[in-house]
């Protein structure tokens, strides 16, 4: 039992190592900028700013849990905004436009999963290619221009609403994180998905349908990414055909940061939330301190590298 206690303790220290780093960052900003950073209003602000990133990161986490990568999440987010906005402009009722867009995104993701699972392709290359195709399709939808004219007001409702003091995107983020966490930790599907990622051959041998799990993982990933794009367009009141591309790399940075907050180093939903929060708070704090954006990028990149290196060192030489 002492061994188990020690194990749990080591796990806690590891998990809290990343949390502690986040708290330290907050503390530094709070000291440097007590009146702008360390306010409740700013905290609410941050929760809205990171919502889109968290959604994409959570989607990426599902695919990473299955041992694959989806490089098309940025393109899926772009598609989400443009397609939903365009449909709304064309007069389709907004709820229907959103539902249709989400369904299209999910079908795209499931196609990715089918290609990867059925033909045993490298997901890296497959999703790079399908993502490029999707980006071209999105561009074609608008002839490359931004959709902002005649967007009905209902479309911007969710992105700009505030309920019980929290912005709409923050509510969506909280719901999606909660559901994804339950899915991954409390259902057979989530456990089997982790098994596929941990040892695909072993999972297959005991009867797990590996392909079906990959299809669903990619499908849900694209669904959430598309949703992030819709939400972003709703927030901004406009949609650009490359509007979601910027979420792609930070989402993976967040997921990798999150992996460092787990004792076995596996991708997990709360970790990705933590990672996205770290990135978001850094961006927010540095902006408040008037740090130029190029320097922000350099600091953010350095922190991700440092976290990953730190995890490798602390995990020791044993795999």
């Amino acid at each position: 039992m002492t061994h188990r206690l020690k194990n749990t303790l080591a796990g806690f220290i590891k998990a809290y190592g990343t949390v502690a780093a986040l708290l330290l960052i907050c503390l530094v900003f709070a000291v440097l900028s007590p009146n702008a950073f360390a306010t409740l209003g700013n905290a609410v602000n941050v929760s809205r700013q990171i919502a889109f990133l968290v959604l994409v990161a959570v989607g990426a986490t599902l695919v990473m849990a299955a041992g694959e990568f989806d490089l098309s999440v940025g393109a899926a987010a772009s598609l989400g905004g443009v397609m939903a906005a365009q449909l709304a402009v064309l007069g389709v009722p907004v709820p229907l436009a959103v539902l249709f867009t989400l369904a299209a995104g999910m079908v795209f993701g499931m196609a990715n999963g089918w290609l990867v699972g059925r033909f045993k392709l490298l997901s890296f290359i497959t999703t790079l290619a399908t993502g490029t195709m999707l980006a071209g399709f999105t561009f074609w939808l608008t002839d490359g221009s931004t959709v902002f004219n005649q967007i009905p007001e209902v479309f911007t409702l969710w992105g700009r609403a505030v309920w019980l003091g929290l912005p709409g995107p923050s509510w969506v983020m909280a719901c999606v994180v909660g559901m994804a966490w339950l899915l991954m930790q409390r259902t057979p599907f989530g456990r089997q998905l982790y098994a596929v990622g941990g040892n695909e051959r072993a999972a297959r041998l005991v009867g797990v349908n590996v392909m079906r799990h990959k299809v669903w993982a990619f499908g849900l990933c694209a669904l959430v990414a598309t949703g992030a794009g819709v939400l972003l367009a709703s927030r901004l009141g406009s949609a650009h055909p490359t509007g979601g591309n910027g979420l792609f790399l930070p989402a993976y940075a967040a997921a990798f940061l999150g992996m460092t907050a787990h004792r076995s180093g596996v991708p997990h939903v709360l970790g990705s939330l933590l990672g996205a929060a770290t990135l978001g708070i850094l961006a927010n704090g540095l902006t408040i301190l008037n740090v130029p954006s190029f320097l922000q990028d350099m600091v953010t990149g350095a922190i991700v590298v440092a976290a990953v290196v730190f995890q490798k060192i602390s995990a020791g030489p044993s795999r």
């Binding site: 039992m1 061994h3 188990r4 194990n7 339950l182 409390r186 259902t187 057979p188 456990r191 089997q192 982790y194 098994a195 941990g198 040892n199 051959r201 072993a202 999972a203 297959r204 041998l205 005991v206 009867g207 797990v208 349908n209 076995s264 180093g265 596996v266 795999r319």
Partner: protein, 561 residues
């Protein structure tokens, strides 16, 4: 000489010289009797986690000698090669090469001392040309002057052809230098691997089962090349399962058994039968005792039957297997005979064809592991970390993975009850006495034996209701401790006594004879014998493995169909 001249003064001079001469004469005689030893292995031992793989093995290799090393699976041949080539250091003993101490710490060091090895599966890069493969890891000839950093392909080509002629290899290397290795035939690859070894002009060449994948005509080419090398004064260590080839080419034969050297004999005068007797260590095996004698009384139902199974890669060509309820069947064959492939075909992990595959007498199709699991055919794979367990997960995740839906609401599609799942894991751990700090310990932290128990506990728990479960065990006791080995034997016997059935593949023939009531022998992808009762003896099993031509009178009755 200095000693002689000092002693040589006064009266004693003549006497001293005479005794010196006698001494020299005796010395010369001794030297003449023992051929100049190129390699001397003295008392080498090697153990893996307490299990001896080689114990106190000595042998000598002379220049211009082909020395064969033979033995059953697990006799220590591979370990001996590893020690000789520096892949694994010996625990005890010493090696001398050309009179100098030899302790290669790496294959590169062995190569530098003139020891080269051709493995059964030639280590070549398929996507590169034959010419490039010859020079990988060696110094490339370079162009003169400013072209120093470019390869001189013309010089490479010339060196390859020269090496071929020098070694007296009778094949046209020029024709295949520009082909990609992936496009070459097995024979051509073996030739290429041999030539690559010879380019470093080794004194000792080790051939590890070089003919295993070759047809007999192609094997003859290799044998004649070995003869050519011998005439050029090279020493060849030849490891092979093919006794006819060993008898044809070898000067001397060393027989290993259970890691010890049993004998080193001149090949002349030996027969395949005498070699098998030496390998198995018994002229006649004792009758094996069946722990479940009751079973023979009733006629058991056929749980599984496969006929004429084959795979596209030819590793399995015509394998038959019938398994009855309550039966513990052994499947034996030399390495590469298709044992693992047959098990993997049965559980749908490997694509292949079979004339008929039936369960309970009804024809079935099993083309995916899911279909196999649904029929309660479960594979216990040989590589438990690589193929059976999910290393990053806890013990309990690994235990309950196949049947997680049992613990979920909404007929398996809702939430998991972690409490019930954990309880099931604890029960499974108790039933097999798995030693762990608890169900939440990482499975990688368990000992090898306990990891294997996790795999077995999981397999047994996969059974639902009254299903008669078939366990297909590939080397189930490999690298586990003695008590776990006993526990697994006990578990398999109990499983069969309950009406289940098991197929056990083991390289350990004595274990198989102890465990199984019937043994099916595979040779080169074909089932060649089905032995039980008085015919089930070690020499008999080995005789079928090695395809001895002369068959005793009762052979027809024991042969499969």
């Amino acid at each position: 000489m200095a000693v002689g001249s000092i002693a040589c003064n006064g009266d004693g001079c003549e006497l001293e010289t005479a005794s010196l001469q006698a001494l020299m004469g005796a010395l010369l005689q001794t030297l003449a009797a023992v051929p100049a030893a190129l390699l001397e292995v003295r008392g080498v031992s090697k153990a893996f986690s307490g299990v001896a793989a080689l114990s106190d093995v000595s042998l000598t290799l002379a220049a211009a000698e082909v020395h064969a090393v033979i033995g059953e699976n697990g006799a220590g041949k591979s370990t001996l090669i590893h020690v000789l080539t520096g892949a694994q250091p010996a625990d005890a003993g010493s090696l001398h090469l050309q009179g100098r101490h030899y302790a290669a710490a790496s294959p590169a060091e062995a190569a530098a001392r003139g020891v080269a090895v051709v493995h059964q599966d030639p280590q070549l890069v398929g996507s590169l040309s034959a010419l490039d493969n010859l020079f990988i890891g060696q110094k490339f000839p370079r162009l003169p002057g400013l072209g120093r950093w470019l390869m001189d392909r013309a010089a490479m080509r010339q060196r390859a052809v020269e090496a071929c002629t020098e070694a007296g290899l009778d094949f046209d290397v020029r024709a295949l230098l520009d082909s990609l290795v992936g496009e070459l035939s097995v024979t051509q690859r073996t030739q290429l691997a041999l030539l690559r070894c010879l380019m470093s002009a080794p004194e000792l060449l080790i051939l590890d089962e070089p003919t295993a994948a070759l047809t007999s005509t192609d094997a003859q080419l290799l044998l004649s090349q070995m003869d050519a090398l011998r005439r050029r004064g090279k020493a060849v260590l030849f490891v092979s399962h093919r006794l006819d080839e060993v008898l044809q080419i070898a000067d001397r034969i060393t027989v290993l058994r259970n890691g010890s050297r049993v004998a080193t004999v001149p090949a002349r005068g030996q027969t395949a039968a005498s070699l098998i007797a030496a390998m198995s260590g018994q002229a006649e095996a004792p009758l094996m005792s069946s722990p479940n004698a009751v079973r023979s009384a009733r006629l058991p139902a056929k749980l599984l039957e496969i006929k004429q199974a084959s795979t596209a890669d030819g590793r399995l060509r015509a394998a038959d297997l019938t398994l009855h309820a309550g039966e513990l069947l052994g499947l034996y064959g030399l390495a590469g005979s298709g044992r693992t492939e047959l098990l993997e075909l049965l559980v749908g992990l490997r694509a292949g064809r079979a004339d008929a595959l039936s369960a309970h007498g009804q024809e079935v199709r099993v083309n995916s592991p899911q279909a196999a699991v649904a029929r309660a055919w479960v594979l216990i794979p040989e590589d438990r970390r690589g193929h059976a367990l999910v290393p990053g997960m806890r013990v309990r995740d690994n235990l309950t993975l196949p049947f997680l839906r049992r613990f979920a609401s909404l007929r398996g599609f809702g939430w998991l009850s972690l409490r019930r799942e954990r309880a099931a894991a604890v029960t499974a751990m108790k039933s097999l006495n798995i030693k762990a700090t608890g169900p939440d310990q990482s499975v990688l932290e368990l000992s090898g034996g306990n990891q294997q128990k996790v795999v077995f506990a999981r397999a047994l728990a996969m059974r639902t209701g009254q299903q008669a479960q078939v366990l297909l065990c590939d080397e189930p006791t490999q690298a586990v401790d003695v008590s776990t080995r006993r526990a697994i034997h006990q578990l398999l016997r109990e499983h069969c006594a309950r009406g289940g059935a098991a197929v056990v593949v083991s390289s350990d023939l004595s274990e198989m004879l102890e465990l199984a009531q019937r043994v099916v022998v595979l040779r080169e992808g074909v089932t060649v014998a089905d032995l039980s009762g008085p015919n089930l003896t070690a020499p008999e099993v080995l005789r079928w493995c090695f395809a001895l031509p002369q068959a005793p009178a009762h052979a027809d009755t024991t042969r499969a169909r």
